[in-house]
């Protein structure tokens, strides 16, 4: 198995992320997943949006595409459909994926196109300095919610499931040993896969919400994340403040680029 650093553009390190930012942990997990599956480095494309997390594409030694805010999934859809032999991995932030890119996210899932979407969920807009995202929990503070967020966050995993994703998993930066496996399974799934990776943003989220430094935020993750089966056994009041991790959903449905290849066969053969 190749070492994960072989998948980095090490000449571009150290990266731009703040001390203790979890993005590096999640990026490393993606590289480990790729190493584990021994994907062809020349046939794997990383597509990201805009945000701190989306800067990860620049540090990964593949064909990499740093797109526009919210648009990673439709760019990735084009790459995959144009050349279905490529493995396409999407890196996106919570705002990128579920606010400005929300429509693309559900439509990618609906099409079940073979993309592996790794959602770096830090519950905030990191890059722009801490504004509320659709995944900021109710009553948590943000620069644009100085009195606390009024509305409810999405559960991106449930959202993806309702929209038709065929593999959904959640992990955390604390559970960094498990995360590569969750991502690897997503890459293996021939269809739309979502891996929600919960990750600390100590600077733009933790500080404002008095969650402590990065180690403290990671500890909090270790306490609130519960493996899916154990989580299911908890009474509703025990589930308060906790969330399930692991593989949350798997299903089968025709993958878009495969299905479209049948359209091509029929059309080339003059059939409808």
């Amino acid at each position: 198995m190749k070492d994960y650093e072989e998948y980095f553009r090490t000449n571009r390190l150290p990266h731009i992320w703040c001390p203790g930012c979890g993005n590096g942990i999640v990026m490393k997990s993606i590289a480990k997943a790729i190493a584990k599956l021994d994907l062809d480095q020349d046939k794997t494309v990383i597509v990201s949006g805009i945000g701190c997390s989306s800067r990860a594409s620049g540090y990964m030694d593949f064909d990499t595409l740093h797109t526009a805010h919210g648009r990673a999934i439709p760019f990735a859809t084009g790459v995959k459909l144009a050349n279905p032999e490529l493995n396409v991995i999407v890196i996106t932030g919570d705002g990128d994926c579920t606010a400005i890119g929300g429509n693309h996210f559900i439509h990618g899932a609906r099409r079940n196109i073979d993309l592996t979407v790794v959602l770096f969920n830090n519950n905030i807009y990191g890059m722009t300095g801490g504004q509320a995202s659709p995944l900021t929990p109710t009553s948590k503070k943000a620069t644009t919610a100085p009195y606390g967020v009024v509305d409810r966050p999405f559960d991106p995993c449930q959202l993806a499931q309702a929209a038709g994703a065929t593999y959904i998993a959640r992990g955390t930066a604390f559970h960094a040993a498990q995360l590569p496996d969750l991502i690897a399974k997503g890459i293996q799934n021939k269809g739309f896969s979502l891996i929600e990776a919960i990750t600390p943003c100590p600077i733009s989220y933790g500080r404002r919400n008095k969650l402590g430094d990065s180690p403290a935020m990671l500890k909090l993750m270790s306490e609130s994340a519960v493996p899916l089966t154990a989580y299911g056994k908890l009474a509703p009041e025990q589930q308060e403040g906790k969330f399930p991790i692991g593989v949350l959903h798997e299903s089968h449905f025709g993958e878009y680029s495969k299905e479209y290849s049948h359209v091509i066969e029929r059309a080339e053969g003059g059939q409808k």
Partner: protein, 382 residues
């Protein structure tokens, strides 16, 4: 040569793109451009190509850019509101140098405006719709057959200069049916995208410009592992905050188009040898203008016409020459007066430039233009 066939401008545009090698289309339905999508949904898979209907125009633009980077020649088509939505990613294509063609069949705006009515109101948006400094190529056909030819040119230019190219149709040309004879495949000149000539080991950098100032970023999946970003970047493709690199990056984008400006400026001149006044026109309006000018000539009036196919970059030289010899230029357009501003700029006070705007959903009649010609002739005779 193939048999004459009755078809719409939109259909000819789709077939032209196909003939030029477009193998990927992403779009979202909108009148009056939808026939382009419908045509390609049918035709593309027959030649192993891909059609996809996306969730909106932003996604349509994104999906073609992804496909282009993976090596396909790509097209999207839209109208008014959809063209507005595409603007951010048209800028992305400009700075990241991703070949792509956008067909915009213009309708009356702003906003939903008059959805099925013709207009030429997106001329300036085609140039300046996205933010920041960037060059633009926009071509506007005036016949059904030329919709085919313009599509071929657009695809070739997009690939050759690695830039977005806009086909500015209008509802008149897009929906008009004419009998056309399309060129045979061997009569069509096709530009194939350049591939890298060096390996990574030999020092290949994806955004190092060649002699023509156009770089050769490798298609994804070919082993070069390049990085593509919408941030200002240096030759390596990676972002740079340096003022020098920023200046170089933006300057080269402009210069790669500036240096071929004459070559890609396409226009027709009619009756210009001894013209006292000239009608400067483009797109569907040029058809009516031609009828009026032809009639004026039949009556012995010294009227000429310049029909611009290339809207951007703007045909400064052509207009400057016309301004030097004509006593007035008449500019009918289906908008509040847009390209006339460029014509005034290029004429630089050498002659009188008269705007003839129309924006009430109705196309010009030959009589209207004849009337304007006569009035102008009498004014310059004084």
């Amino acid at each position: 040569m193939s048999q004459p066939k009755l078809m719409q401008g939109n259909e000819a545009c789709a077939l032209g793109a196909l003939a030029a090698g477009v193998r990927f289309f992403g779009g979202y339905p909108i009148t009056p451009s939808t026939e382009i999508a419908e045509q390609l949904a049918e035709q593309l898979p027959k030649v192993g190509g891909t059609f996809i209907q996306m969730e909106d125009e932003i996604a349509s633009m994104a999906v073609i850019l992804g496909a282009s980077l993976a090596g396909k020649k790509v097209l999207t088509a839209t109208s008014g509101p959809g063209f507005s939505l595409k603007q951010e990613l048209i800028g992305y294509a400009a700075i990241a140098e991703i070949p792509c063609v956008i067909a915009n069949v213009q309708r009356v705006g702003p906003s939903t405006g008059q959805p099925t009515s013709p207009a030429q109101g997106d001329v300036m948006q085609a140039r300046w719709g996205t933010h920041g400094d960037h060059p633009m190529i926009a071509l506007s056909p005036w016949t059904v057959r030329e919709s085919f030819d313009v599509a071929v040119k657009a695809v070739n230019y997009a690939e050759r200069f690695r830039t977005p190219v806009i086909i500015l149709l209008d509802e008149v040309v897009g929906h008009m049916r004419e009998k056309v004879v399309l060129p045979a495949d061997n009569e069509i000149e096709i530009y194939s995208r350049r591939q890298p000539t060096k390996s990574r080991e030999e020092g290949y950098q994806p955004f190092t410009p060649e002699a023509d100032l156009v770089p050769n970023p490798a298609d994804f999946g070919t082993g070069y592992r390049i990085h593509v970003t919408g941030l200002v970047h240096d030759d390596t493709g990676f972002p740079s905050g340096s003022p020098k690199i920023t200046e170089q990056c933006i300057k080269r984008l402009h210069e790669k188009i500036d240096c071929v400006k004459d070559e890609i400026t396409h226009y027709d001149e009619f009756f210009m040898e001894d013209a006292e006044i000239a009608v400067v026109t483009y797109g569907g309006t040029a058809r009516t203008a031609y009828a009026a000018v032809e009639e004026a000539r039949a009556q012995g009036k010294k009227v000429g016409m310049i029909r611009l196919m290339t809207i951007w970059p703007f045909a400064d030289k052509v207009i400057k020459q016309a301004a030097a010899k004509c006593k007035a230029l008449l500019v009918p357009e289906m908008n509040y007066g847009q390209l006339v501003m460029e014509i005034e700029r290029a004429a630089a006070g050498q002659t009188k430039v008269v705007s003839m705007p129309k924006y009430n959903t109705e196309i010009f009649t030959p009589n209207e233009i004849s009337g304007a010609i006569d009035q102008l002739l009498s004014e310059v005779a004084k």
